[in-house]
């Protein structure tokens, strides 16, 4: 029983990380149908910038704030200089652009930061919480709570504010949204900014557990994306559910089956979901226009 509980806690820890990353994909996809492969780099920037500002002597809370702002700036720049000019391009082109952006940001991080790995202090100390023979770190709970907060905030934003409605409108039909006076370019830019902020916050919360380096972005993006697909891309709650489920799959397969192919789990999940139910667990089905 203690074993099962430990696997469960591990799944929760890793799943919360994936959930936060997956949430970042959701907003941009909702507003513009773009799968932003650079989402992982937003997470990396949040963590690495905080670490380096901290090393330079800036007090951590301030460093964190600056890191989030800096990442938002990068997100806006990405939208303004890479996505906006390519408006109307095919899905493949947009994916390639974001992949190019991710490679660019990774290369820049190597030069600006360094090639070693770094950590951040845990918010509530490193003493694990012991329950039923298993142990979970307080920071894992912080990440979970963070993900929950983001979901709630996103829901409030989309459902309760005019701006949020504008995002939905833009996603539903861009032309119609413009016809009713919505500045769709700005809306998409806003979605990039918010996604970047979510990514940066994810980086901050996750780095104490998972450590960070200039290239954490790639694998995180792939797994976060798998989680988003599993839960249903386009649904914030789905992103969290997908993330937690993916984390559980990984933890339980590592624990009960074999740890050798643990990494393969995420990709097998992607394939299984895509073959069986492309819209994911909580996603809305897509209407295919002829």
């Amino acid at each position: 029983m203690a074993e099962f509980l430990q696997f469960f806690f591990s799944g929760l820890t890793v799943g919360a990380i994936y959930a936060l990353v997956a949430l970042g994909f959701t907003l941009i996809y909702n507003a513009s149908d773009v799968i932003n492969f650079a989402q992982g780099e937003f997470v990396m920037l949040g963590g690495m910038t905080t670490v380096f500002l901290g090393l330079a002597g800036v007090p951590l809370p301030l460093a964190a704030l600056v890191a989030v702002i800096a990442t938002v700036a990068v997100g806006l720049a990405l939208h303004r200089f890479a996505i906006e000019p390519a408006r109307g391009a095919s899905a493949v082109t947009l994916i390639m652009i974001t992949i190019g952006a991710s490679i660019f940001l990774r290369g820049a991080a190597q030069v600006v930061f360094d090639k070693r790995f770094h950590g951040l202090p845990h918010l509530f100390g490193t003493e694990p919480i012991r329950l039923g023979g298993a142990a979970i770190l307080p920071q894992s709970l912080v990440v979970l709570v963070g993900a929950a907060c983001v979901v709630v905030l996103l829901w409030l934003f989309i459902d309760r504010t005019l701006l949020g409605k504008a995002v939905i409108a833009t996603a539903a039909n861009r032309l119609a949204a413009r016809l009713v006076g919505i500045n769709t370019g700005r809306i998409v830019g806003l979605s990039f900014a918010v996604s970047a902020a979510i990514g940066a916050v994810a980086g901050l919360l996750v780095t104490p557990i998972a450590l960070t380096s200039y290239d954490v972005g790639t694998l995180l993006a792939l797994k976060g994306f798998a989680a988003a697909m599993l839960g249903g891309i386009g649904s914030a709650l789905g992103a969290v559910v997908g993330g937690l489920l993916l984390g559980m799959f990984e933890a339980f397969s590592a624990g009960y089956v074999s740890s050798k192919y643990k990494d393969a789990v995420a990709f097998l999940v992607i394939l299984a979901v895509l073959f069986a139910m492309p819209q994911g667990l909580l996603g809305r089905g897509r209407v295919e226009r002829v």
Partner: protein, 383 residues
């Protein structure tokens, strides 16, 4: 008068230029280096590049080798073996190097070996696996300890503590996998039983499932973690998190101050084999390695602002062994230099004392490794 003086000065300068330009002593000795400065092995390649650059500059400032300056040609293979081979071909055919110090990873080294063997150029590799020098190839040498030696050192220490049944948890990337294979091969010969094995990906953030399985396995007396990079730090933290109290051994790839910082209090009591470089300040004053490692640590720290790295140390040794061989051969002729490298005896480096021979192209023995234990957040030597 002024014109005559300046004419004489110009004439003298021209003659001097002719002499300097015409004499062969002005030609530079080209040393090639294909390193993984970016990509998954950049943690190893970056300090290697920095070290080579610092010391080539240093050697040139002191007059060069045999009166000639060294020219370092560095290419970044990005951790990809195909690129490494292309750059190796470039070094041989275009840059026409005299010798090569490089090959950060075993994969890139193995891909490049045929190029240098065919071109008959001495190649000192900076990678760890034993296949690089076993079987011995005429033109290939290496400076890092083999992972086999790391296993032997760990197992010897285990035996001294009367621990014979272990579990292993290893990373899946090249460095860790290679060491894991060697440990599995060496264990029966040293009377160690590996009761259980687990693995983790190099970017994983939580290893508690694997460690839980190890904790639950009866009869395990100690745990060995062949790994490098951030994985071992997380493994160590998880280890204490779920309350395993058995002795934990890390690999030589982990040997850096950063590991202690990131693993935190969980690192207390962890042992690992490492070169004297890491405990430079703690070595006894009469230790033959002391002055070399202290100097290298200080210089590296000063010039880069980063803590010293074992991998940078291997690059230092590679360069010095090459340079000393050139000095003994009194030329940069490839065959003569190769012979002199093979005759390296008593070279005191960051990795240990090197004694090469026609059958041993690495030259380190088990005494090159010290067994370290982490106490109170710092390295201490296990007697």
């Amino acid at each position: 008068m002024a014109t005559l003086k300046s004419a004489v000065a110009m004439g003298a300068a021209a003659v001097a230029a002719l002499i300097v330009g015409g004499s062969p002593a002005a030609a530079q000795i080209k040393i090639g280096a294909v390193l993984s400065v970016t990509g998954p092995a950049s943690f190893l390649g970056d300090p290697e590049k920095k070290t080579l650059e610092i010391y080539v500059e240093d050697i040139n400032a002191k007059g060069g080798v045999n009166g000639q300056k060294l020219q370092l040609v560095v290419y970044d293979d990005g951790g990809d073996a195909n690129n490494a081979r292309t750059f190796a071909t470039r070094l041989v055919d275009q840059d026409k190097i005299a010798a090569m110090v490089g090959g950060t990873t075993t994969g890139s080294t193995l891909a490049m070996i045929p190029v240098f063997e065919e071109a008959q150029i001495p190649f000192i590799s900076l990678a760890g696996a034993i296949q690089i020098i076993e079987p011995v190839r005429k033109w290939v040498f290496k400076t890092p300890h083999t992972d086999k030696m790391a296993c032997e050192k760990i197992f010897a220490d285990l035996k001294r503590r009367n621990l014979t049944t272990i579990a292993m948890i290893s990373g899946t990337e090249a460095f860790s996998k290679s060491m894991r294979d060697q440990c599995a091969a060496v264990a029966p010969k040293m009377g160690i039983t590996i009761a259980h094995e687990e693995s983790y990906g190099p970017r994983d953030s939580d290893m508690t499932p694997q460690l839980t399985n190890i904790k639950g396995k009866a009869g395990v007396q100690a745990v060995v973690n062949p790994g490098f990079g951030q994985g071992p730090a997380i493994v160590t933290r998880n280890y204490r998190q779920i309350g395993i109290t058995l002795p934990l051994y890390q690999s030589h790839g982990v040997a850096s101050k950063q590991f202690i910082e990131l693993a935190g209090p969980a690192a207390e009591g962890v042992r690992l084999p490492a070169a004297g470089l890491l405990v430079a300040d703690k070595l006894a004053d009469n230790d033959p390695q002391k002055s070399v490692v202290v100097n290298y640590s200080r210089t590296y720290q000063q010039k880069t602002g980063q803590a010293v790295s074992t991998f940078g140390g291997h690059a230092y040794d590679g360069l010095m062994i090459l340079v000393q061989a050139m000095q003994r051969a009194k030329s940069a002729d490839k065959a003569k230099v190769r012979d002199e490298i093979e005759k390296t005896k008593g070279y005191v480096g960051t990795g240990g004392i090197v004694n090469m021979s026609p059958t041993d192209h690495m030259g380190l023995d088990l005494s090159a490794f010290r067994m370290l234990e982490i106490k109170n957040g710092d390295w201490t030597l296990v007697p």
